[in-house]
Structures are given as C-alpha cells and as structure tokens.
Symmetry: D5
C-alpha cells in the first residue's frame, strides 16, 4: 500500500555540527536500507529546499508510522502524509 510523504527538515541552529552530521549519516544508512527492502519506493529532493518527496510501500498504516518514527531525523521534521491508490488513468506497471 502506497503513501505519499513530504518531509521538511528543520535542524535547530544551535545543534553542534558533529551531532548533525552523525544524525544525517544514520538517516542515510536507514534510508538506503529501506530502499533496498522496497519500503521506501521513491525519494526525491525538492530543488532549493532541505526537504524531500517520498513514496512508501508498506502493509498498513501502523507499518508506515513505525517506519517514519524510526528515522533519526524524525524529531526534526515536519511530515505530511497522503494515502495513495491506483489512478484509473494510470497504466504504469508499478504505480500501485
């Protein structure tokens, strides 16, 4: 089941650079693991902003919540979720 997720990162300006770097490294590692597992189906940067647009493929709402709250940057992100379903005009093989 697919969900559209837009994440905007807002790190506090007074977070030490080393702490921020460590967070980002862990975030990247988990993001890549979730991509390999097929959970994080799409991941794009929004040009000009510290933000991304993503599509997650999870069994249900609870799995979506567990996945997002595992992200190291979760406490520093504004997150908007929209449930997706197949569009009647879509004939793409993998958009569902």
């Amino acid at each position: 089941m697919l969900f559209h997720v837009q994440m905007t990162v807002r790190l506090p300006h007074d977070m030490p650079a080393a702490e921020a770097d460590a967070l980002k490294l862990r975030e990247k590692a988990l993001a890549q693991e979730l991509q390999r597992e097929g959970v994080w189906r799409h991941l794009w940067r929004i040009a000009g902003r510290y933000a991304n647009v993503s599509v997650f493929d999870v069994p249900d709402n609870a799995a979506l919540h567990d996945t997002l709250t595992r992200l190291p940057l979760f406490p520093y992100m504004d997150i908007e979720v929209q449930p997706l379903c197949r569009h009647p005009s879509s004939d793409r093989d993998n958009d569902y």
Copy 2:
C-alpha cells in the same frame, strides 16, 4: 528533468454530465499517451479526493507548461508544481 505536480479537479456543479464525461475521456486518453511517451512518469490518486499526485519527466520548464496546459481539465484544476532533483540518499535506478 523531473517535476512533482499535484492536481485538484474542481468541476463546476452546473457543468452538464455529458460535457464532464467527454472532458474526462479526453483527459484519460491524453494521460495514457503521455505515460506511453514517458512524459507522465507517475500518476497516483489521492485517496478520498478528486485529486492526483504526479511526476513528469520533461526536457525543461517550457515543456512542462506546454504539457500541463494541453490537459483538457487544465482550466478546472488547481495545480502545484515543485521541481525535483536526485536525493543524495537515493540509490533507486530511476528516480532522476
């Protein structure tokens, strides 16, 4: 080059059903043609709303504009555009 586009359709309540149906048929035909050409890369329905989330792959801004304004439903849609680029944590083969 990829663009994230969210479209919300607002047909006037007094549009005759036949006119609305004809518009939707033409919209669907063009949507499928654009998918076959690889221009309309992704197309999802937002659950519970007469709206979609899409990703377009076009050579430049002008091509994006020309594509969107060709859509039969264009005059009846609220459209939000966000330019996308590759995310540094992405290792998907086709997210760019």
Copy 3:
C-alpha cells in the same frame, strides 16, 4: 485499517430542495448500510456545522477511496483524510 475522515457539506444554494432531499436520503441509506457492514465505524455530527467526523475501517487505501466516492454527497463535500493506527497508550478493545 482505520482512517479518520472529516467531511464538510457545501450544497449549492441554488440546488432545488427536492434534489437536495433525494441526495440526503440516498446518503443516509448508504451510510447506514456501511455502518451495518462495519465499514463506517464511527459517525458524529460536529455541533453547529453541517459536517461530520468519521472513522472508517477498510482493508486498504483503495477501499477507502471507493467507499468515499460512492457517497451521493461526495461531489459537494470537502474531505480531509488522516490514516490512524493504534496508540501506544490505548488499551481500548476496539480502537484498531
């Protein structure tokens, strides 16, 4: 799987009363059928507004979309959807 749905009805002022009444009757009949089937889990009126707060129990996002778009009042409603999951502090038997 549960979804929180808030619906605000905006009937056009120039809709003939008979048409509005017929729509509402069909809406009520379907609402009650969906309650009997366990799909429309909760349904409350928001005091002072022509609006409701609801909880739907459906197998997936597509079923939610199909259910909501079957509602006779769908073209006249503003609908906001939020996916729900079990709260870690909940010990209610049926809130999931």
Copy 4:
C-alpha cells in the same frame, strides 16, 4: 457528552531525555486511568506524526477543560476541540 480532540505534541528539542521520558510515563498512566473510567473514550495515533485523535466523554465543558489540563504533556501540546453530537444517520449503539 462527547468532544473530539486532536493533540499535537511539540516537546522542546533541549528538554533532557530523562525529563521527557518521565513526562511520557505519567501521561500514559493518566491516559490509561482515564480510559478505564470511560472518560477518554477513543485514542488513536495519527500515522507519521507525534499526534493523536481522541474522543472524550465528560459531563460538561468544565470537566473537559479540567481533564485536558491535568495531562502532563498539556503545556507542550497544540489542542483543537470540537463539540460532537449524535449524527442523524448514525445507528451505532455507542456514538453518543
């Protein structure tokens, strides 16, 4: 009498983890006590956010206020309240 309450938690980033954990423990204990007493009728997590949707059953507005302000996380939450009443299309046994 029922009230729909949506709570979004915004803990300051510089709150010590021990203090946050203690607050959450006390919040959970009180939430469960209020559920046992039938006051906190429903409690759901909104997927992807540190927020919940709840329904409270209280004798009056004052009781709602007293209950919400007793919550240990109250000073850190954005709270939206909507008074509910029975929906004319509802035939659920306990939605009032």
Copy 5:
C-alpha cells in the same frame, strides 16, 4: 453550559430582496425568542461586518446544534463554535 459562537452571514448576491428580508425577519423573531428563554445569552454586532459574536447557554452539545440549525440564516452563515467554562480569575455572577 456556555458556548461562544461567531457567525458571519454571506447571503448570495442574487437572492431577491424580498426573500432576504423575510429570512432576516424570521431570524430576528427567533433570536428574540431564544433571548427571552435565556438560551441566547449574549448577542453583539461586530462593528463594520455583517457578523455577530454570541454566547449560548444550553444543556449540552446536541441542544447547541439543534438551536443553531433552527436559525433561518443557518445555510448562509460561517459558524465557529468554542466551548466555554468558568475562568479561575472570574468573579462575575453570571459568567457560567
């Protein structure tokens, strides 16, 4: 039990004057009846706008909803409801 209600009237510009006048007369009659009964506790005009600020005294949420939806102008008003309770610093005799 007290509720704060702000009502903004938006009559369609194409409503015939006679129809608007008749609506307003019926609204005024009911408003005065509800004041005599003690239900519509306060009623003020907001200077410069076709809007009012009111306080209603009703037994519960359902009574509030029934009262507001009986108003002849109800279909043409934006209504915002806020439940009130006694303020700990209030020593007024009748603000509860």
Copy 6:
C-alpha cells in the same frame, strides 16, 4: 463602549515556575480589580486551551490599549481585538 478580546497565553517553557506563578497571581489580582470596576465585563476560559474570551467596557480605544498593556501577561499573549456594538436583534438589557 464594548470590545471583544481573545487572549492566548504562551509562556516560554524555560520561564522559572516561581516567576510564572508570580505573574499569574498579579494577573489575577488585576483581572479581579478590573471586573469590580466594571471594565472587564466578561471573562470566560476556552475549554481545553490556555486562552480566554473577554468583553471589555471602556470609554475609548486608548483606554482599551492602556488596560490591556497593564496586564502582567501582556508580553506573553496573542491578542485579537474586535470592536462591538449593539445588535439590532438584541433585547438584552446589558449587551451595550
């Protein structure tokens, strides 16, 4: 002359409890003095929020401003002011 005032209190999370308590005591004392003088005509708590709805009776705009800025919590409040006047449908003795 009457003014509708809605005040939302936002104390900084790092204000020492003793300082906050002292502020609130002084606020309460002044609120009660202003009520005795007939200036603070109504004062209600909004259920579930650290906020109030009030009606002030003052000779003019300047008196309103002087009164509100004397409040010890003034620097920590979001304040919205709406000038009121008698409603043509009001027959209450003291709503002006």
Copy 7:
C-alpha cells in the same frame, strides 16, 4: 476616535455595467460627504488593487458600524477594522 479600515471591493462579474456605475457614483458622493464632515479622515488607493486604506474618526463603535453599512458598496466589500489610538512616539498634531 480613530479606526483603521481596509476595504477590498469584489463586484460580481455578472453585475450589469450600468448598475455598477450607479453604485460607484453613489459611493463616491457619500465618500466625499463623509470627508467634508470629517468622518472619513483619510482615504488612499492601494496601488494595483481595487481596494483602499482609510481612517475614520467617529464617536464610537456604533457610529463606525452605521457609517460603513451606509456605503453603497458595503455588500460587495471585504472589510477589516482595527481600532487606533495615539502612538507614544507620535508628535503629529492630528493623529488622534
């Protein structure tokens, strides 16, 4: 007593030109009469918009309301009112 008023005019697109012209003529005549009487203290056009910024000098809130609702364009305007008072840094002779 001074009030800051911002008015935005939104005439319906289907209002006959003659009707619109008549309304504007009557509006202008009354605006000039109110300026001569000293009630409409200032009147400026906001560049690029069908809107104005004004300052009214009236005895009280009721007089402000009566003045604004007498304007022929009142039913077609969005009006925002802010009560003004003398600024402690002002040394202008007539800004109060």
Copy 8:
C-alpha cells in the same frame, strides 16, 4: 510618494530590560526626527497590540527601504508594505 506600513514588534523574551529600553529610546528619537522631516507622515498605535500603522512619504522605494532599515527595532519587527496612491474619491488636501 506614500507607503502604508504596518509594523509588529516581537522583542525576544530574554532580551535584558536595559537593552530593550535603550532600543526603544533610540527608536522614539528617530521616529520623532522622521516626523519633523515629514518622512513619517502618520503614526498610530493599534489598540491592544505592540504594533503600529504608519504612512511614510518618501521620494522612492529605495528611500523607503533605507528609512525602515535605519530603525533600531527593524531586526525585531514584522513589516508589511503597501504602496499608496491618491484615491479618485478623495478630496483631502494632503492624502497624496
């Protein structure tokens, strides 16, 4: 050339009182100098808020910017600018 400027002051709660007082003194001195020079044409307090509504008379946009950024409180203000011009219904001698 006239500009309408609304300024809302937001001093940080942790600014030492002496620093705030010094800023305000310097702000007041410059405000009065600019009034004497005819640049700060009008200056009103918005009742109930730490904010003002002003009209500036400057040769051009650059002069407006230079004037506003010279204000000692500039870094702590939300500023909204609207260019003004003579209103066709105005017959005031000095509203341009």
Copy 9:
C-alpha cells in the same frame, strides 16, 4: 522605479470563448506596447499555471496603479505588488 507584480488570471468558466479571446488579444497588444515603452520591464510565465511574474518600471505608485488598471484582464486577476529597490550585492547594470 521598479515593482514586482505577480498576476494570476481567473476567468469565469461561463465567459463565452469569443469574449475571452477578445480580452486576451487586447491584453497581449497592450502588454507588448508597454514592453516597447520600457514600462513592463520583464514578463515571465509561471510554469504550469495561468499566471505571470512581472517587473514594472514606472515613475511612481500612481503610474503603477494606472498601468495595471488599464489591463483588459485586470478585473479577472489576483494581483500582488512588492516594491523593489537595488540590492547591495547586485552588480547587474539594469536591475534598478
């Protein structure tokens, strides 16, 4: 003097096509005349929307207002104006 203007066109859906076409033709003719005169300094389409971003070079606010209200599409546009001035980091020859 430069002004940044963003215009969004909202033609009524029931405007006859011939009337809309005639309006657009006149709009284009005037836009090109104003460009030749150097008044309409820049004009760009916002990709995916019936909207433009423009820069006007006019002697003062009144000239800006006169220019914008001469546009045939003026009654159908949402217009946002921002006064511009030279940026201290700019070394472009013609950005002022």
Copy 10:
C-alpha cells in the same frame, strides 16, 4: 532555464555580530561571482524587508539546488521556487 526565487533571511537574534558579518560577506562574494557567471540573472531587494527576489538561469533543477545550497545564508533563509518559462506576450530579448 529560468527560476524565480524569493529568499527571506531570518538570522537568529543571538548570532554574534562578527559571525553574521562574515556570513554576509561570503554571501555577497558568491552572489557577485554567480552574477558574473550569468547564473544569478536578476537580484532585487524587496523594499522594507530583509528579503530578495531573484531570477536564476541554470541548466536544470539539480543545478538550481546546488547553487542555492552553496549560499552561506542558505540555512537561515525561507526559499520559495517557481519555475519560469517564456510568456507568449513577451517580446523582450532576454526573458528566457
């Protein structure tokens, strides 16, 4: 390819002046280098605000993102991006 970018700078009030000055110097140096390269096509100050309106000319979305994130003030700016294309009524030589 052109992009319209609006940047609003929000430096933390507690940033040491020397650090802020150094950031601004580096920002200015890079802004001028990007202007010389033709990448930062236009740069204007919005009068009365610590903000600018800019037009960038870059090969694609990724280049826009790389350019903006290289700016020393990037972590302290709210940035809004709109893709531009040639307007059909434009006959300017360089607006594309």
